[in-house]
Point group: C2
Chain length 339, copies 2
């Protein structure tokens, strides 16, 4: 976001430890005395919602947080988000909120015939804390001991997963075309677009309006026989929107900055079909990958399952994009994914 934001006369102060990637390009990095820094800022935003609550709350209290805290609070527990979406009439998979793993397994048996997803309400991200149970509940008896809230959800037999990158400022809404997303073990592996259903854009507009949202939002969907359900939203720039750095005139990062600073929004059309492959727990890929696209290396320590970079590809058509993704996948994961 800072790299894209350097074209604007904006100063970037980042709440991060020295040595984190953002600090190489920020005007200032801080972890101490965030109160003083936030008071100096005009606007406070975030690239990830599961962060220290105190600085977010302070920024909200000062009227500087965009997107506002209401969109973040719903993400602190899965049941809050799901109940909000259901209450507001959005199509979501059938689910029940329960207390404790024991009760979750009982509801799974009695109301879902032992086929469903049991999710811890708090602390989950990138597939963690989620258990896909397909008539084999005995393997999940360890959940009986777990406390806290759980969401038990139907296992949607979807045709594919898709997402939208939407942007909303005070009075404007825009959305990039939907993308097809390929996930494995709860982690996005690659995505490409345009691909999907215009209903997704209508739902994105309604959702951002309901939340009185300002900024970029990523919204994930399940698509089954042309029917669309919301899986979840992310109140920030989103992994499935990284391809906009190359496939669109204005990237999701620039659009987020435009929205939260009250600037005019720009075009969200794709200039050409495009996509992205995540670099998950691997070292810098072989140079041949550069034939097919642009490698974004984040400079993070490599750990298993960790997103340490991505490769953007742009094609003449979707077939070309898919072929490039396949080539990048083969070069990057010669022995297959290890997730």
């Amino acid at each position: 976001m800072i790299l894209e934001g350097r074209k604007f006369p904006i100063t970037f102060l980042v709440y991060a430890e020295k040595g984190e990637p953002a600090c190489r390009i920020a005007d200032l990095c801080f972890k101490e005395s965030y109160e003083k820094v936030i008071e100096e800022c005009d606007i406070v935003t975030f690239e990830f919602e599961h962060v220290d609550e105190a600085p977010l709350q302070l920024a909200e209290d000062l009227g500087k947080l965009l997107p506002r805290l209401n969109s973040v609070v719903l993400k602190r527990a899965r049941h809050l988000e799901k109940e909000f979406l259901k209450r507001e009439g959005f199509p979501v998979p059938r689910f029940v909120t329960v207390e404790g793993g024991d009760e979750a397994l009982r509801v799974l048996r009695d109301e879902f015939n032992n086929v469903g997803v049991v999710k811890k309400s708090e602390g989950g991200y990138d597939g963690r804390g989620q258990y896909f149970i397909r008539g084999d509940p005995d393997r999940y008896q360890f959940l009986r001991e777990e406390r806290g809230l759980f969401v038990v959800e139907e296992l949607v037999n979807y045709d594919f997963e898709a997402s939208i990158i939407a942007v909303r400022s005070g009075n404007e809404f825009r959305a990039y075309p939907p993308t097809f997303n390929y996930n494995e073990k709860g982690i996005l592996v690659y995505n490409y677009g345009p691909y999907g259903n215009p209903e997704m854009i209508r739902l994105a507009e309604k959702l951002t309006e309901k939340l009185n949202y300002v900024g970029v939002m990523g919204i994930e969907f399940f698509i089954r026989r042309g029917k669309v359900m919301i899986n979840e939203y992310a109140p920030r720039v989103h992994n499935t929107g990284h391809y906009t750095l190359d496939g669109a005139e204005i990237s999701q990062f620039e659009h987020h900055l435009r929205a939260i600073t009250g600037m005019e929004l720009g075009e969200t059309r794709l200039l050409s079909p495009s996509g992205m492959v995540n670099l998950l727990g691997v070292h810098y890929p072989p140079m041949d990958v550069l034939r097919y696209g642009s490698v974004y290396w984040y400079g993070k320590e490599v750990r298993r399952r960790r997103k340490v970079g991505h490769v953007n590809v742009v094609g003449k058509d979707l077939e070309d994009v898919r072929a490039k993704i396949e080539n990048v996948m083969k070069l990057t994961y010669p022995n297959g994914l290890d997730l």
Copy 2:
């Protein structure tokens, strides 16, 4: 270039004064003890060729300078570049190299019938040190006192000016499509493409080969009735290639870094017709400009004629690009250009 290069695992050490724009995002800025820093670097490159000679020479001596010094040396005086191009058989306007302004005016009268361009061989950039004489030599009598080498050149009655952004690595050559360039008083005001003549690409390939060039090169041409002449080349990323940040998958900046570090090159096709408007000696343009494109503000002090930013536009077709450029021009220069 650094902003585009942050996607690579490259460390950027910049020869610049603290406070210059590059220093906000570089890993290190230095002006003192450049010897030590250059010795630590693997590769040394430049964004502008008219810079201190000693660090360039040292980098060349260590075999680290790319593009190599041979392409820079020719740019230190106009007659060196022109004589090289002529000697190598490239189409160039007719010219004569002379010593002193007095002799320049005599040659202009005797060999060019008092219609031509008198250029100081050294120290010119962005139209400085160039005099367009159209049968009115009396107004230029002040040149009689000037010493040093001059180039006297025919005044080409061209249909338009155009340029190519080429990139060459050890064994690969690529070129972005040509652009139409609109200059005023020797300064690029806007450009857009694709627009031009495939002959330009053939000449660019031949020129980069002759120079055994590595990196991105900008080459400016005059086009008259489909005939192409080289005006000059720039051994670096070029103002007429800024539009590649938005209109192409891989920008000229990324391609320069790929070429000089020996990485694979990528695509140079335009994803959509696109163009650029320079911000010349103006303050940050009105927000409405953001409707038409992306504003790149360099964070430099504003001075008359100075390039302090640019606006990239992308359109559905050339007509759309031209309309956007016109809108950006009107909003940016409501009282016309002051050059």
